[in-house]
């Protein structure tokens, strides 16, 4: 009779104690850390620091010296803010800059064992295939997810977060400032009143992007009109267009983001059935892009926008 009651009391007590001891740890610990970090953030060497990734807030205790990047965009960001020397390995798709330490690590199908083999103190990745972040955290490795940016502001923020995470806050701020002013310059130079239309090609089966995507928004900044926007909702921003529709739309410009993946060029486009009659094809409006640059949201976005802007200006002068 007294025994069960005793057990109940003991269990209840244990819960109460656990609740008491847990609460301050959860609310007091990390939040306190983040507060101190943000107050001391003006100083370069301010660690520990709290950064915000797609996977939530992370506290980094010391300046990371063994960074593994599984994201080509993060690799470009890291090298552009002067953190390249701290990067010891990057994934197989990270082909820029040339001195990035490319390995056979995969960002799409990451192998946790292979990553841990580099003894990293920070892993930056873009796609979360399931439990990469939690697996690394479980092994005591800080994992920062920075997934595909939906807009320029997110791209800038990711550079700032990487600056904070690696101890290059000022360089990151300077880079973002430079990107902002370069892009503003291109936007100011553009003439949105011309109504120039374009078709953006992701692959040779006519997958395209709408203005809801990161790349689509870049074109929108310059006032170019996207023929893929005629597609209704539900396409997820990346519709496969009908050849008939592209021909009927007769866009002024055709941007090829499939020069590497699918070997497309102004010549192959002209050889497609029915495409030779397009204004862009006969008027030199087919613009080959670097697939890699077009798929990333790092510092080279400015180069991409410059290329688009130059093509649009050329088309307007010709008209």
């Amino acid at each position: 009779m007294g025994k069960p009651l005793g057990i109940i009391v003991a269990v209840a007590l244990a819960f109460a104690l656990a609740a008491c001891s847990d609460d301050p740890a959860v609310t007091g610990g990390p939040t306190g850390g983040s507060a101190t970090a943000s107050t001391g953030s003006t100083h370069e060497a301010a660690f520990p620091v709290t950064v915000e990734g797609t996977n939530g807030d992370l506290t980094i205790d010391a300046r990371p010296e063994r960074i593994v990047s599984l994201s080509p965009t993060a690799t470009e960001d890291l090298f552009a803010i002067g953190a390249g020397a701290q990067v010891i390995a990057v994934d197989d798709q990270s082909n820029y800059p040339a001195d990035a330490p490319t390995t056979d690590l995969s960002g799409f199908e990451p192998n946790v064992e292979a990553i841990v083999g580099y003894r990293p103190d920070l892993v930056v990745y873009a796609t979360e295939p399931g439990d990469l972040g939690s697996s690394l955290e479980g092994l005591g490795i800080t994992a920062l997810q920075l997934n595909a940016a939906p807009d320029l502001d997110t791209a800038y923020d990711q550079i700032d977060q990487l600056g904070a995470a690696t101890g290059h806050r000022d360089e990151a701020a300077a880079l973002v400032e430079r990107m902002r002013s370069d892009i503003q310059g291109l936007v100011d130079a553009s003439d949105p009143a011309t109504g120039t239309t374009f078709y953006y090609e992701l692959d040779d089966t006519f997958y395209s992007v709408t203005s809801k995507t990161f790349i689509g928004k870049l074109f929108g900044l310059l006032g170019l009109r996207n023929i893929a926007d005629a597609v209704g909702r539900g396409s997820g921003g990346y519709p496969q267009l009908s050849a008939e529709y592209i021909i009927e739309s007769n866009p002024d410009l055709i941007f090829l983001a499939d020069t590497k993946c699918c070997g497309q060029s102004a010549q192959t486009v002209a050889e497609r059935p029915g495409w030779a009659a397009l204004a862009a094809v006969s008027g030199g409006g087919v613009v080959p892009l670097d697939d890699d640059v077009a798929q990333r949201w790092g510092p080279r976005v400015v180069d991409l926008l410059r290329q688009i802007s130059a093509a649009a200006a050329k088309m307007e002068n010709a008209a």
Binding site: F206, S235, S242, A277
Partner: protein, 345 residues
């Protein structure tokens, strides 16, 4: 009594054939009339009757869309549908298995593997030749493995053993293909393009690519359609009637695999057609391959032409992958036909 029965069967076959031809003509017309770009029925008919010259009142662009995009696409869809349906019917006859189909037998998976090898490791400037050839070899290997495995190790004629072997072979070949794809990630996108289908980029090149193989394969199957009835009864019976069963089976399998490979090479992997069409035809006219094979060709072509019309119009100006729709329409359709058949039988 037997004479009137024979007449009735004959006229049923004649009626079904007439229906098949009418449906095919209707499907082609519908497919030409409907598309993401509005051309107008009157314009399409005038264009047809002026044999492809742009009639007055029709823009050059509309004529271009009809001639260079819509018409070749309709033809390719028809060829692919006819190939898949005819090869399905042929596999079902020679393996005496109602579930035999280019997909279940591993022919399509083999063709996909062949196409992958050609894209990833072959010369990049001759894909139009190497891909169909490699797909054909792959399809033959797939069927050969499935048949050999089903007969030798899983106990002969049982319906399930062939299907089980086909599933195992298809999984294995698909695994090899995925591995090769991963090894050559630079050609990944192109491989996907081949596998997922390219009807959206079809032009006259694809017609020229598919037509010879499809014509040869279907003509061969058509020529032996009477013998299919004999072989379906049983090897011993067929042999006692003086038929070289081994040779016939080889000819039929090679022809059906050629048709499958041509279909995969121009349109990617499209499921369900080889199963639904022959079974639907059997429910209409009975089991004789003298009717089943020609009607499968007609209805298979009509089916895929109509499905492709849906694929390019429902969310126009965007497209839906055609394989998604064959499954989406095909599965419920199959159930409906089965139920109706059971009720009337």
């Amino acid at each position: 009594m037997s004479r009137t029965g024979r007449d009735r069967r004959l006229s049923a076959r004649a009626r079904a054939t007439a229906l098949g031809v009418v449906v095919l003509i209707a499907a082609v017309l519908i497919a030409l009339l409907i598309g993401p770009v509005r051309i107008g029925a009157a314009n399409v008919f005038r264009w047809l009757f002026s044999f492809g010259n742009a009639p007055p009142g029709m823009s050059e662009q509309q004529a271009l869309i009809l001639a260079d995009l819509r018409l070749p696409r309709v033809i390719v869809a028809g060829l692919v549908g006819a190939s898949l349906a005819a090869s399905g019917a042929a596999y079902q006859a020679v393996f005496r298995n109602p579930l035999a189909d280019p997909y279940l037998l591993g022919a399509a998976a083999g063709a996909g593997l062949g196409a992958t090898i050609a894209v990833a490791y072959g010369p990049s400037d001759a894909l139009d030749l190497t891909v169909p050839a490699a797909a054909f070899v792959g399809a033959l290997i797939g069927v050969g493995l499935a048949y050999g495995l089903g007969r030798s190790s899983l106990g002969g004629r049982a319906t399930t053993s062939l299907v089980l072997a086909g599933v195992a072979v298809a999984s294995f070949l698909t695994a090899v293909q995925t591995f090769l794809q991963q090894q050559r990630s630079d050609t990944l996108r192109q491989v996907y393009t081949w596998i997922l289908g390219r009807l959206g980029t079809t032009g006259w090149d694809d017609v020229r690519l598919a037509l010879p193989s499809v014509a040869l394969a279907i003509a061969t199957l058509w020529a032996v359609r009477r013998l299919l009835d004999v072989i379906e009864v049983g090897d011993v019976e067929a042999q006692s009637l003086g038929l070289n069963v081994t040779r016939l089976r080889l000819v039929v399998v090679v022809a059906a695999s050629l048709a499958t490979a041509a279909a995969v090479a121009v349109a990617g992997l499209i499921g369900f057609v080889g199963l639904i069409i022959p079974h639907t035809v059997r429910m209409m006219v009975g089991g004789s391959y003298r009717s089943v094979l020609p009607l499968s060709v007609l209805f298979g072509a009509s089916f895929l032409i109509l499905v492709d019309t849906v694929a390019r119009t429902v969310i126009a100006p965007a497209e839906i992958p055609i394989g998604v729709i064959t499954a989406f329409i095909g599965a419920p359709f199959f159930v409906v036909v089965l139920r109706r058949n059971r009720r009337t039988a």
